[in-house]
Every structure is written in structure tokens, then in C-alpha cells.
């Protein structure tokens, strides 16, 4: 099982999903109308490391986070 968390301003509870890569996560999240904008402008981290490809494989116990646009300071 993979845990998916939505950080900062994304108002969505964490998901626990049986998925094996980020492509599968994308297909699931695209069905959520409230997520459209966030999918366009959010980065993705797996186990707290940013990833750059949707083919990234996931294994049982992985943690995925969506990071929307940032503005520290």
C-alpha cells in the first residue's frame, strides 16, 4: 500500500492506495475535479525526495507527497 499526502494549501485528506507507479496515481487523481489545477502546478516527492518522471515505480510502504507552488520568506 502507498500513502499519498497533499501538502500546504491542498485541501484533501491523505489516500492509501494499491498502486505500483505514479502513472496509476495520475489516473486516479485526474478523476477528482478539485485536483485539476493542483496536478498542473504541483511537484511530486516519493519518500521525501522530489521525482521528475511519472514512470517512477512505487513499492509497498512508499510515501508520496504533492507539493503545490511555494513561497517561503
Amino acid at each position: 500500500m502507498v500513502r499519498v499526502e497533499f501538502l500546504g494549501p491542498i485541501q484533501k485528506e491523505p489516500l492509501e492506495l494499491y498502486i505500483t507507479n505514479l502513472n496509476e496515481l495520475a489516473e486516479i487523481l485526474k478523476k477528482d475535479a478539485t485536483m485539476q489545477e493542483w496536478l498542473e502546478n504541483s511537484a511530486v516527492a516519493v519518500n521525501d525526495t522530489l521525482v521528475s518522471s511519472r514512470d517512477f515505480p512505487l513499492k509497498d510502504g512508499d510515501r508520496v507527497a504533492l507539493l503545490p507552488p511555494v513561497c517561503g520568506g
Binding site: L7, G8, P9, L22, L25, A26, L29, K30, L39, E40, N41, S42, A43, V44, A45, D48, T49, L50, V51, S52, S53, R54, A65, L66, L67, P68, P69, V70, C71, G72, G73
Partner: protein
């Protein structure tokens, strides 16, 4: 070192502590950057969410870059609410040489703005409103769209 505080930063105390921590380290230049909440757009203040695991690894990577130049960095940031004219952010570089310090503080602060996993909200009329228009998508965003 990275320091996170609830609410506004005590800037004089932090600048003093950092100066005194390095008083015998033989650094010739110390450049802190202090960020303070400005009155604009009718806000009462700002509020911040921080995702610490990724902030820590981002900061560690910059510490390594600093070390490679013989320098060190320190950073402090607020969690939660910071009101007008209070400060929420300090980044500092200590370096033997001034050119390294002047260039490094610029790169470090700019990458912080572009990459650090911190989210800013305007406090206005009792509401906490995500500051999307002033925010930057992290490099590599959009891979799930």
C-alpha cells in the same frame, strides 16, 4: 543549522546568537538576509506551512554547497502567523572571503524562494488565504497532469 520557530522571529537575538556562535571560526564575512512582513494589499499578516522533511534535505544540500566553498549557512523561519512589520525569515552566510559570501547569499535566498517547501497565506479579515499569485511552482511540477 536550520531553526524553525512558532510565530515571528526574535531577529536581534538570532543575529546575535549566530554571530557569537562563529566568533572564533575565523570567518571574515557574515551576511544575514532578514525578511519582514510588509503592509500591502490590506493584509494583517502572513501565515506559513512548512513541510520539514524536504526542507531539511534542501537545507542539507545547500550546507554541502557552502562547505565546498569554505563557507557555512544558517537559516531561521517562522511557522504559523507573523503579523505586519514582524520578521519570518533569516538566511545567513559566513565565509572567509567577502566575494563568496556576497554571491552565495544571493543564490541561497533565490533558490529558497523557488524551492523550499513552505506555503504562504495572507491573513485578511480573519481569513487565511493561500498566496498563489506570489508562489512559484517547484521545478519539475506538473508530472501528474
Amino acid at each position: 543549522m536550520l531553526y524553525l520557530y512558532d510565530g515571528a522571529l526574535d531577529v536581534p537575538r538570532i543575529l546575535k546568537e549566530w554571530y557569537e556562535q562563529e566568533t572564533s571560526s575565523n570567518y571574515g564575512a557574515y551576511i544575514p538576509f532578514v525578511g519582514t512582513v510588509r503592509s500591502e494589499g490590506g493584509i494583517d499578516g502572513l501565515s506559513f506551512d512548512i513541510y520539514e522533511p524536504i526542507l531539511n534535505s534542501w537545507f542539507d544540500a545547500w550546507s554541502e554547497k557552502a562547505k565546498a566553498k569554505g563557507a557555512i549557512i544558517k537559516m531561521a523561519h517562522s511557522r504559523g502567523d507573523v503579523m505586519l512589520h514582524e520578521s519570518s525569515y533569516i538566511a545567513a552566510v559566513f565565509s572567509p572571503k567577502r566575494r563568496v559570501a556576497l554571491e552565495f547569499i544571493d543564490e541561497f535566498v533565490e533558490d529558497f524562494k523557488a524551492s523550499a517547501p513552505i506555503w504562504k497565506y495572507d491573513l485578511k479579515g480573519g481569513k487565511r488565504i493561500y498566496a498563489l499569485d506570489r508562489s512559484t511552482a517547484i521545478k519539475g511540477s506538473g508530472i501528474l497532469q
